[in-house]
């Protein structure tokens, strides 16, 4: 195989080629000085790190080209720490590459598998151990053990029950209800029809919700509402028209895909877009999905005007808001 006849035979490890540092002590000493310089720079950088920590107030902002206005402390600490660490690494690697031996040597490999006699011994030991245990013969003991080991994890499983409440109909209800006024989301003032301008997206929440409420986040996650004013003749969907007031339509702000709040409105087309996964809904056509991964239309809230001239809800959403789920139906 390895005879002269084979032109592709392995010639074996190539002979070691000396580096400058291997044969010239002056070159080696130059390398040593470089390494020492790098380690010295590291020491200085650590001192500079501590100095920066003491010197710069935490709120000092400086201008550094081309980074812009940045925190002086973060910049100086990061830079000095980075240099202190990097130069240790550079010194060590340079040491390894120039001064430590670079002679390649070969280690032998041994097969991972055990020798046949080892395997035989192990199997024999195992058979002896298994026989002594009676695991195969004492079937009653064995099977009840299996039964016990299968059941005992149930204790742990049961303990998980109190992680949370059962879903019941929680996902079907929001804070909206008959007669609840629509509060402007920024000013927290009740909205009148004339507050809803053509071409703008207005956000609202139900009357009686306060940011400081303990469950505000949970409630707003379902109740968030958006309003737009359309020309009534542009509303294509019959039910949408019935549930609107003077061209003002109210839809859930929570995307029916995975629950991101919708915040982009195309005035001309009356499309709204969820910025997370780009589901697009047509607000002039019952909130129908026209593009993207959402699976069903945005729920509409039926609105009207109360005797004082404020917009109010005529009830809760008729269907669950937000993403679909198994029980939604």
């Amino acid at each position: 195989m390895e005879a002269a006849g084979n032109p592709f035979a392995d010639p074996g490890l190539p002979p070691h080629e000396h580096r400058q540092q291997d044969i010239d002590e002056r070159a080696a000493r130059r390398s040593e000085r470089t390494i020492a310089l790098l380690f010295t720079v590291s020491m200085l950088a650590t001192v500079a790190f501590i100095a920066s920590y003491v010197a710069f107030p935490v709120d000092r902002i400086i201008y550094v080209f081309p980074l812009g206005h940045i925190s002086a402390l973060n910049f100086s600490l990061g830079l000095t720490l980075g240099i202190a660490l990097f130069t240790i690494g550079a010194g060590a690697v340079h040491w390894a590459r120039t001064l430590m031996s670079d002679v390649e040597v070969a280690d032998e490999r041994h097969p991972i598998e055990a020798a046949p006699e080892v395997k035989a011994k192990v199997l024999e030991d195992f058979a002896a151990g298994a026989a002594e245990s009676g695991f195969g013969r004492r079937k009653l003991a064995r099977n009840t053990l299996f039964g016990a080991l299968t059941l005992v994890p149930l204790a742990g499983l049961v303990l998980l029950r109190d992680l949370g409440p059962l879903p019941q109909d929680k996902l079907r209800h929001t804070k909206w209800g008959k007669g609840k006024r629509l509060m402007n989301y920024n000013t927290m003032l009740a909205l009148r029809p004339e507050d809803i301008a053509v071409g703008s997206l207005t956000f609202a929440m139900p009357e009686g919700m306060k940011e400081s409420d303990h469950d505000f986040q949970t409630q707003i996650a379902k109740a968030a509402l958006m309003l737009v004013r359309l020309q009534p003749e542009n509303i294509k969907d019959k039910r949408e028209l019935d549930w609107s007031h003077d061209g003002i339509v109210a839809f859930s702000k929570i995307c029916t895909h995975v629950g991101c709040p919708i915040n982009l409105y195309e005035q001309q087309t009356h499309h709204v877009l969820c910025p997370c996964h780009q589901s697009t809904f047509d607000l002039s056509d019952g909130g129908r999905v026209i593009f993207g991964p959402a699976g069903h239309a945005l729920p509409q809230l039926r609105i009207g005007v109360n005797k004082d001239g404020y917009l109010e809800a005529k009830g809760d959403f008729a269907e669950p808001v937000g993403p679909a789920f198994w029980e939604r139906g």
């Binding site: 060590a92 280690d107 490999r109 709040p261 589901s279 991964p293």
Partner: protein, 543 residues
């Protein structure tokens, strides 16, 4: 008993030796050192990728411990009164407020936060690239399949740990990510709403999630990962490192330099290099500026919302999936969310179990320590590139809004491009890669038989111009011809020697077919034989 600590002349041994003796008596360190201190590691730049992953993991642990000293994993609402003016008077969770404190009040806190986050991104990237190196060189073959699985699990758990980590500050971006998770839970048939209620402790977002994610992020997941990492490294030592083919390198040896001193210095030094680069990066490049994003409110969102890059693949699947929902018998099957979320781990697991599939197809049960040059395993290489193509196409899908705004493209056409590209791209990549591999094999064969093109043009006495080819060195000849070209697996004749029909299982036929795809005639360029080489170089057929 004093012989261990004293030399024969009765002189007391040096202090270091005495300490080592003490340790040896209790831990057996001498035997350990005998096997490992001068262990040989081969040298190649690509072996450094796994080290980057290892060191960034260590950096993440170090900085993460520091962050736990200041972070409050609580969703109790507070009104901010700290030094960051734009947020003063804003309601936020304690988790968000304490993240602001880390960024603006703890000196160096911002740096550590940024190092932690940068290191996490680099950790995941390094693992993926390291995995690709192992994949394309066939380093996952026996005896290293288990270690490939450990590495794969580290990658997968790394993604989860990263996700739980960037969710902790409870900022508007990460909260939106958690809402997405709620939608994912809800899409699970039958038990979805229950899982959601149990995980969030009620309705989304509730008050329990951050305090629950916290131990998962700082203890449970990193604990498992640390265990896997140690096992991964023990196996690397135990199997000894693979090596690229070359002169003097065989399946029975490992050629390189010893751990002490060369790799102690190189690998140890490399830790500091990685740490240094990440520290400088964190000094100059802001990452996850939660103060600019603001605290989470379920009714607010920012545009251009993106997960960290390693979640981009899952994000892409979710974005481009059509919104299929099936309503029947009062129930809803939310396929539009459920399919992508099942597909996400499945696509990853396809690469995770690949070693076992390949060894079944090829029937190769031998140990391999010499790495494949990717061109010499065209089908595997093509599969890997196809997988990467699917991954990258979905990364584009995950950022479809950014692609649209940056390149002034229609979001609809990008989405359609990704939908089609996810299926067509890998097929195309597979075919192209395979052809490139076979082309490179042909070039290797050419080089072996005809030598290297020198670029020197020579005019012969009768006027013909030829290019001078220089024969390859013995080292190169060996390197280009050392690989094996196994025969494909055959089912065997349909009838045995007595003319009785043999039972051939469907799986055997499939295996034979796939095996042909690896080693069949069309999938390999026969490497030059010694006879061909002698024929050509003996002078009969010149140039």
């Amino acid at each position: 008993m004093s012989t261990a600590t004293e030399t024969q002349r009765g002189r007391k041994a040096p202090a270091g030796e005495r300490v080592a003796d003490w340790a040896d008596g209790r831990l057996g360190v001498y035997s350990l050192a005998k096997a490992n201190m001068r262990k040989i590691f081969p040298d190649h730049w690509s072996f450094m990728l796994g080290e980057v992953a290892l060191y960034s993991f260590i950096i993440i642990i170090l900085t993460g411990v520091y962050l736990t000293l200041f972070f409050h994993p609580s969703m109790e609402e507070v009104v901010y009164h700290g030094p960051y003016v734009p947020m003063q008077g804003v309601r936020m969770s304690e988790a968000f407020a304490s993240t602001l404190d880390i960024s603006f009040e703890v000196r160096g806190g911002l740096l550590i936060r940024q190092i932690h986050h940068w290191a996490a991104l680099i950790f995941l990237a390094a693992m993926l690239v390291h995995m690709m190196r192992v994949f394309f060189t066939g380093a996952f073959r026996k005896p290293r399949e288990i270690n490939w699985l450990f590495g794969f699990l580290l990658f997968f758990l790394g993604m989860l740990t990263g996700f739980t980590g960037y969710s902790l500050p409870d900022d508007l971006l990460s909260g939106t990510g958690l809402r997405f998770i709620e939608g994912v839970f809800l899409s699970i048939p039958v038990v979805g709403t229950y899982i959601s209620m149990f995980v969030f402790g009620g309705e989304f977002p509730g008050m329990d999630l951050i305090p629950r994610l916290y131990p998962v992020h700082v203890l449970l997941l990193p604990g498992i990962m640390l265990g896997l990492l140690v096992a991964h490294l023990i196996l690397v030592f135990y199997h000894k490192h693979t090596q690229y083919p070359g002169p003097g390198k065989t399946e029975k040896n490992v050629v390189g330099m010893p751990l002490l001193p060369v790799y102690m210095a190189k690998a140890g030094g490399f830790f500091f290099l990685v740490f240094g680069v990440i520290a400088i990066l964190s000094a100059v490049a802001t990452i996850n500026p939660i103060w600019a994003i603001g605290p989470y409110r379920p009714d607010q969102v920012s545009t251009g919302a993106q997960p960290d890059w390693y979640m981009g693949f899952a994000e892409g699947l979710v974005r481009v999936m059509p919104g299929w929902e099936i309503n029947a018998w009062g129930h809803t099957l939310v396929l539009g969310v459920f399919i992508p979320i099942v597909l996400f781990p499945l696509v990853l697991f396809a690469i995770g179990v690949y070693p076992f599939i390949e060894s079944w197809i090829t029937g190769d049960k031998r140990e391999h320590h010499i790495l494949d040059r990717p061109r010499n395993a065209p089908t595997r290489t093509a599969f890997g590139v196809a997988w990467l193509t699917a991954y990258l196409v979905m990364l584009v899908g995950g950022g479809n809004d950014l692609w649209a705004t940056s390149f002034h493209l229609s979001i609809n056409s990008i989405t359609w491009f990704v939908r089609i590209g996810f299926f067509a791209g890998p097929v195309l990549a597979f075919i192209v890669t395979k052809r490139i591999c076979l082309g490179l094999q042909r070039r290797d064969k050419d080089k072996v038989l005809h030598g290297r093109e020198t670029g020197i043009i020579k005019r012969l006495p009768h006027g013909e111009f030829i290019e001078v080819h220089q024969p390859l060195s013995q080292e190169d000849l060996h390197k280009l011809t050392q690989h094996e070209q196994p025969e494909p697996y055959e089912v065997g004749p349909a009838e045995d020697e007595n003319g009785v029909r043999r039972k051939i299982k469907g799986s055997q036929k499939l295996r034979a077919k796939l095996s042909k795809g690896y080693y069949g005639e069309d999938n390999v360029i026969p490497k030059p034989t010694a006879e061909e080489y002698k024929e050509i170089t003996s002078g009969h057929g010149h140039h």
